[in-house]
Symmetry: none
Subunit: 265 residues, 2 copies
């Protein structure tokens, strides 16, 4: 008999990050939605009320997800070990981030997990009222857009998590030994490579962006403070590249060489 | 200009049938889940409490779905005009009905709608506690199985509706003149975007890489000629980013500022 494996176990490593949820009931419903699909890692950024009896009540058997939830104070803290960060939005925005539908994102997440030795994935879900801020979206490699009814796109927080968790589970249950050509080429497309890579964590990328900013200041390339728009564009550019640890080293090496030249003057 | 059509309008004709729902709050949440995905036709078979303020409260803007809901006393009455009836279950049963996942069912629903002049589709969702009876499942052409976590398959009624409604909407939004789904998703993956951006041509990227190389030489960062391995790594890095024309301009601006600093010496 053939022993067919799936990626089901990988679901438990995917982090669902709720940014400043207001209603404790929603946290409970999210826990339930996650557990039905095999997800278990919940991170709460500044929850208004947590722990709370309403969260436990609506978890309805998924209290284990609440008990192991990590509570942090900033999004950066929530994602500092992550190699792939995705943000969710049902709204259109003026500044366009790269967006994908949940199905394509779920494929991309597993392509990332399969091709990365230190993968750590986070899916950010914004506030009930106002979603994610632009600064929070800047931290994301990609934006997930659930293509809702334009006349009524008011998806409940737990419903948005349910849809994403469902799509992740469907991808996780794809048999490893019958990966279709499309999935394989998606993997190559996401990584640009066939070997497993050591991707830079968010913290390492942040370190690079800070180094880049200070070098650009030394070069007099940036002369307004804070040079937000340009730095945001550069952050987004390098996020798209899914930098490896080695690439960060090369890029920082170039910055150091530039700084050295400037100081020789 | 090409006028690309979708089946979005067909969503409003698909009936969501809740069989003997116990909690009025669930009816409201179902209405909301339906409306976010463009569905509007709700049928209630023997609801325990309806109308009810909790249903209206949880509908949260989707009260129109409740107002037009049809209330009947038997499943047969609910589906009497229907040409395709599907039943939902998250549980395994001893007697096996033909089952399909939500994605396949959604495709089947639209195949049915497209090929039937009098199509009327009903999706049955069972009681919160016990689902559909065997007799009710006998009325269905097919059983939908949401492949939930076997350790915790307790999907909320509205969550099950949300997943099905989402899959139906995704199928409804498939362009009628776009046959090859694989090709479409690959295109989306290639661009990483739904909005059109002006991506750099290969020639523009090559120009940037040459500029980068000459700057790195001026910085004494590269001192072997030809510095093939490092430049190949940098080429690959920037190829992963799928640079836009604007991003190339920013990156070349940084290189020019660097060169200027070097020449000031």
């Amino acid at each position: 008999m053939q022993n067919v494996e799936t990626h089901e176990h990988a679901l438990s490593g995917i982090n669902i990050v709720l940014v400043e949820p207001t209603h404790p009931g929603n946290i409970g419903s999210v826990a339930r939605a996650m557990k039905t699909m095999g997800l278990s890692s919940l991170v709460l950024v500044n929850p208004k009320k947590f722990p709370h009896y309403e969260a436990s009540k609506l978890a309805a058997g998924a209290e284990s997800v609440l008990e192991t939830a990590r509570v942090v104070t900033t999004v950066k803290e929530a994602i500092e070990d992550c190699t792939l960060v995705l943000g969710t939005s049902v709204r259109d925005r003026e500044v366009s981030w790269p967006t994908q539908n949940p199905h394509t994102v779920a494929k991309g997440v597993f392509a990332h997990i399969n091709s990365t030795s230190n993968s750590c994935v986070a899916l950010l879900f914004g506030r009930e009222s106002s979603g994610l801020t632009n600064e929070e979206l800047d931290l994301c490699q990609m934006q997930i857009r659930i293509d809702a009814n334009p006349q009524y796109s008011s998806l409940n927080l737990a419903s948005a998590v349910q849809i994403m968790a469902y799509e992740l589970r469907m991808q996780a249950l794809v048999k490893i030994d019958c990966v279709d050509e499309g999935a394989a080429s998606n993997t190559a497309m996401m990584t640009g490579l066939e070997q497993r890579q050591v991707l830079a964590t968010n913290k390492q990328k942040e370190g690079y962006i800070q180094h880049l900013q200070s070098t650009l200041e030394a070069l007099d390339f940036i002369n307004t403070k804070p040079p937000t728009i340009l730095m945001r564009k550069l952050t987004r550019l390098y996020n798209k590249a899914e930098l490896t640890v080695e690439e960060i080293q090369i890029l920082r090496g170039i910055l150091s060489a530039t700084e050295k030249k400037i100081h020789e003057q």
